[in-house]
Point group: C3
């Protein structure tokens, strides 16, 4: 069993759900739902693969198009508790974030990228799809929400992967543990409204 | 005569017109008009080529820069019926959409992409430039307009190309017929306000 | 001493400052400041490298990540004259613009791109990062500001580099002179509010 692929498909599905839910919330049609879900689910990985210099996996192996297709169908048939959509999007998005920061860093390391590049490519894989989703939907990027800590868990997850890889401790177990830790960190940060300091030190305070 | 190239230049020109018209409508200067036209006309194809893994055609053969240049000049000298701009943009945009969904899919098939990838790359070529135009101009993406059916004709055109290709029926005639059919479908959908179902099944209705 | 690299790091730093300052102005946190600075400083060059078809320099040589890191730290500790931020962003941005239009064109020429492609890749390197900064931060793109002349200096700089390259006059001195000329042109255009004609010839005026 290829755990990397399984996790990748799972992350794609959850990110695609968040894209299709946003499409539903905004009243887009099913074709737009499929496109926005695909962009959210596959966009970060495509950018990662273009930077690594390999054919984007999503286009190389058609199996990667199945999760966005499923996500658009699932969202279409969900009962209409539209008012609870945003919280749901955030939770699904968190799973995608946790999965992609780790598998993105692993992919970069497998292609012999240096540690700094692997760290940033893990973060890019994790936040790229969601950023594209928000940008093309004219939604304020969750990534930059000052009342939310979004990229920090991705940096943590990608950083831990780079660390265990170079220590020789990388395997299915350490991958799963780190992914779960990032997910828990992200969900706790949502629940308790954790924040990191602002971009600017405000001495007047 | 290379019909693919001829259609590609035509599609680039019409998409570039839509970009330069949007620049005119927003009061941008001629340099921004040229850039927005180029992005609209060439952006989808560049993304397609990056994903396929070949040098982007637009940068490989300078002839592709001529349509955006012509488009910026044409828009500059058009008489100023600004209030009719939006309808004109939509019509020009429809030609670009029809041309690029078919030639984009053909290009992907020529580079031995699988059918699913060729379908999505045809759609990407068709909607990518217009999406970038709307995103960078802070315009609500036409692609996601729930009262408009925009990506469906592109899916249809790219799908038919993949079909005739695998049936061995691909030639200049089938290419032209499919392109014309997509254009007619798109223009009729604009005229009669055809829609596809929403991203979400609203049971309350 | 590799003048190209030195200028590139300088341009990255100044663009990254403009990205991190925008993050500070919008109240983003330090992680978002680092990401927005990195995108602004490295984004244009990454797009250029993807189009050229070489591994993006920023990910190949980790030294390129240092300027955005420094920029985020510098912005964090700057005293809080937030009201003067916009003017400062414009000045720092001008340095990045001047540096990247020339080094971007040089890189394209070194990789044997044709003159038209080298011109447009120089402009892409120069305006790409700032455009991405504005697009992802939901800020009106400076690139399209009709009361400002932004891309014209980049076209001038990239055009002059292509010219001296083909005349055989390219060296560290001509590179520095052209870069300085673009910077002066950009700063004067800001000071005296120079403009280029609109996208559309308004005969009614």
């Amino acid at each position: 069993m290829d755990w990397g692929l399984a996790l990748d498909l799972l992350g794609t599905f959850f990110f695609a759900i968040s894209g299709s839910l946003l499409a539903a919330k905004r009243g887009f049609d099913i074709v737009a739902s499929l496109l926005l879900g695909s962009l959210t689910g596959l966009g970060g990985g495509v950018v990662r693969d273009l930077i690594i210099g390999r054919p984007p996996l999503a286009f190389d192996e058609p199996v990667h198009f199945i999760p966005p297709l499923l996500a658009a169908i699932v969202v279409y048939f969900m009962s209409s508790h539209v008012q609870r959509f945003w919280r749901t999007i955030l939770t699904f998005d968190a799973v995608g974030l946790a999965v992609f920061c780790t598998t993105g860093a692993v992919t970069a390391l497998e292609f012999a990228m240096n540690p700094a590049a692997a760290l940033l490519l893990g973060v890019t894989t994790a936040v790229g799809g969601g950023l594209m989703r928000d940008v093309v939907a004219n939604h304020d990027p969750q990534l930059f929400n000052p009342r939310d800590l979004y990229a920090a868990p991705a940096f943590l997850g990608a950083g831990l992967i780079v660390l265990v890889w170079h220590l020789g401790w990388y395997n299915a177990i350490s991958l799963s543990v780190i992914t779960a830790a990032v997910l828990v960190f992200r969900l706790l940060s949502l629940k308790f409204r954790w924040r990191v300091p602002g971009a600017h030190l405000d001495r007047a305070k």
